[in-house]
């Protein structure tokens, strides 16, 4: 628990909220401080103004009748108590002449000649004094009169200063409270945040430990954490799919390679046992070499497929005219079709621009054309077409009048090593269409299989239409 708490204090969320709580407290402290400065200052300014007025009165008395008049003025006001002001007139010898203060404050006056000091109230009872203390705060001026007399005029500001200091205490307390509340709120909020993050981390740790099942919880509010969970889950889905495919591929490789390897082994075995017959031995060896080549071909196909699917192949994508690709392949395959007794036609639209890798696109089309030639019986037709579709895509399509692929199998044949039953007798690795699919993916394209133009009633199949669609290259170079 202790360690967990310490760990919590280290979290970014907590530090952020702590910082914002501190900033909030500072802001309220500054605001209240401003209020304090304004009101406290006003209280003292008002006292100072009143003192100045009284000093003017005394000054007028002095002008009228000198020290005596001043002395009388003070006596009149202070005898019997109840004076509003504090007075003290001091003889040059230091003796007090009149006033309700007993001695002059021993405080250095400030720039404006003002002093603030604590005095002992001379007589109790003439003022309401709640706390009963006799030490009170006063504020006033000391005026040097001619011929060495000194006059103090002041006001009792005890109430006011006490109010001001209470205000200051209140402000400090409020700021401290704001800080405490901010931190508490921060802990609360960040705890929630950290708990949600913790759940995602827990999922990550379980996945790391090898369990691909768990998914990060989502609250579907679309907030940042929800989005993180969603992306995290999508990533896990992809990882799981890749792992599954890898496992499946591994199994398929083992399964599909076992057949040719066994065949090869038998041939070599036979060649060893064959007595003397040099020619048949040579034949067996030649066939074994051909088997090896076939196996190597499968390995190479697996390798390029893996690199394409992993997105590792840095295909050299360029702007190119798909018509060049289509016409080169048409020219390559036309004679092959004719030799197989197939009518070949090419319909190629020119002037389109595609972002692609010539080698890869050619290979994809060659794989499709290979299949068309392989499966379409003599007398059929193969058509290669390049056109811009209604949706503004660039489509390569190859149609044949062969047996076609049943609807239910069309999605399956692009998976690795999937070979339909009726194709097992033909040479092939079961990787050709997977490679086409991977090449389409690399180009942000789609690969689809559909019904061909064949006539089922003729005893041929429905035929097959293989379509590779790519987005057009954006205008400009």
């Amino acid at each position: 628990m202790q360690a967990r708490g310490a760990a919590f204090l280290r979290t970014t969320a907590f530090r952020q909220t702590l910082l914002s709580a501190a900033l909030f407290a500072l802001a309220s402290f500054v605001t209240l401080g401003f209020v304090y400065a304004a009101s406290a200052g006003m209280v003292l300014r008002r006292a100072d103004a009143a003192i100045n007025e009284e000093v003017e009165q005394l000054d007028a008395s002095f002008q009228a009748g000198g020290i005596r008049t001043v002395n009388r003025y003070i006596l009149e006001r202070t005898v019997g108590g109840g004076a509003d002001y504090l007075y003290l007139l001091v003889h040059p010898s230091g003796r007090s002449l009149s006033g309700n203060l007993t001695y002059l404050p021993d405080v250095q006056p400030d720039d404006e000649g003002r002093v603030q000091f604590t005095y002992r109230r001379p007589a109790a009872g003439d003022r309401d004094d709640a706390d009963g203390k006799d030490d009170r705060t006063a504020r006033g001026r000391i005026i040097d009169l001619p011929s060495g007399y000194q006059l103090y005029v002041g006001l009792d500001v005890d109430e006011e200063t006490r109010l001001v200091s209470r205000m200051l205490n209140t402000i400090l307390a409020a700021s401290a409270l704001a800080l405490a509340l901010g931190v508490a709120a921060g802990i609360f909020v960040s705890r929630r945040f950290v708990r949600r993050l913790d759940r995602i981390n827990t999922v990550a740790r379980r996945v790391k430990a090898g369990d691909l099942q768990p998914r990060a919880p989502r609250n579907f509010t679309g907030d940042e954490l929800d989005e993180l969970s969603e992306n995290f889950n999508n990533m896990l889905d992809r990882v799981e799919a890749l792992m599954h495919r890898m496992r499946h591929t591994g199994d398929s490789i083992a399964h599909d390679l076992r057949t040719p390897l066994t065949r090869m082994r038998n041939r070599l075995d036979e060649a060893l046992r064959e007595d003397g017959d040099r020619q048949s031995r040579e034949q067996a060896l030649e066939r074994a070499v051909a088997d090896t080549d076939e196996l190597l071909g499968i390995f190479n196909a697996i390798l390029s497929l893996s690199r394409l699917e992993a997105g590792e192949s840095r295909a050299s994508i360029q702007r190119l005219d798909p018509a060049d690709i289509a016409s080169d392949l048409a020219e390559l395959y036309e004679p092959v079709c004719e030799d197989e007794g197939l009518a070949f036609a090419a319909e190629i639209q020119t002037g389109l621009i595609l972002l692609g890798d010539r080698g890869l696109l050619s290979q994809a089309l060659a794989n499709i054309l290979d299949n068309a030639v392989k499966y379409t019986p003599a007398g059929g037709a193969v058509t290669l077409r390049l056109r811009e579709t209604g949706e503004g895509k660039i489509e390569f399509s190859v149609t044949d009048t062969g047996p076609g692929i049943p609807d239910s199998d069309r999605g399956r044949v692009t998976q690795r090593f999937v070979r339909l039953d009726n194709s097992r007798t033909k040479p092939g690795s079961g990787l050709g269409l997977s490679l086409v699919q991977a090449i389409a993916d690399v180009h942000n394209g789609t690969f689809e299989l559909g019904e061909g133009p064949g006539v089922v009633a003729d005893g041929h199949g429905a035929g097959l239409r293989a379509s590779l669609c790519f987005p057009k290259a954006p205008a400009g170079s």
Partner: protein, 223 residues
């Protein structure tokens, strides 16, 4: 022909060496890039066969070092890396041809011999002649026994390649790469079909055939 094999896999090297010797060539072997560079500098070779991945100095660095010395000996790079970009990298480093492992020996031999031929000062040849078959590279015409033969553009390029390598075995993969610029092997026998088309034009009407099939390897044009 004198050939240097630079290959760290001793078994593979001795397999190539034996094959080349059986075909009448002299073959030396270097076990890594540094040794290969030393030997290539010390003696005149007609062709270098260089493995790409080797200890101490890899094949591409070795070829680059040679080319920096202005040594133009043709180089065939062998590599287990067969993607287009790997190939481009190999050719950029100064290799003249690129062969992906695993390969058939016949393929290697055909390429080595083709590379040696390229060294001949044939840069400005405008006319190719094999027996009574003549090709004018400027006028783009082909004549046999005084009779003009009409060829499609691709057939013309196919024949041109065969004539430039007359007397040598040319493999199907070589033709796909050099004539069509495709670096994949189609499942169907596309090359055979094109060769048989060409044959029907340049050989069939004449008593003696020039275009021969070499079993298990490819084709050879020979008078």
């Amino acid at each position: 022909m004198r050939i240097l094999i630079v290959e760290d896999d001793r078994e593979a090297a001795s397999y190539i060496r034996k094959g080349l010797r059986e075909s009448g060539h002299v073959a030396d072997h270097a076990g890594d890039g540094e040794e290969g560079l030393e030997m290539a500098r010390a003696a005149e070779y007609d062709v270098l066969v260089v493995d790409r991945m080797m200890p101490r100095m890899d094949g591409l660095s070795m070829v680059e070092a040679l080319r920096a010395d202005d040594d133009r000996t043709p180089v065939l790079i062998l590599s287990a890396l067969g993607e287009v970009d790997d190939r481009v990298e190999g050719l950029k480093a100064g290799g003249d041809d690129y062969l992906v492992k695993p390969y058939a020996f016949a393929e290697l031999l055909a390429r080595v011999e083709a590379l040696a031929r390229r060294r001949d000062p044939d840069t400005v040849r405008t006319k190719l002649v094999v027996g009574d078959l003549e090709m004018d590279l400027l006028a783009r015409t082909v004549v046999r026994e005084g009779e003009e033969i009409l060829l499609q553009p691709r057939e013309f390029r196919l024949l041109e390649f065969l004539m430039k390598h007359s007397g040598q075995v040319v493999t199907r993969t070589m033709l796909l790469e050099k004539v069509w610029d495709y670096h994949f092997d189609p499942q169907t026998n596309v090359i055979d079909v094109h060769i048989s088309r060409l044959r029907s034009k340049i050989d069939k009407p004449f008593p003696r055939s020039l275009l021969h099939t070499v079993r298990g390897a490819g084709y050879r044009l020979q008078a």
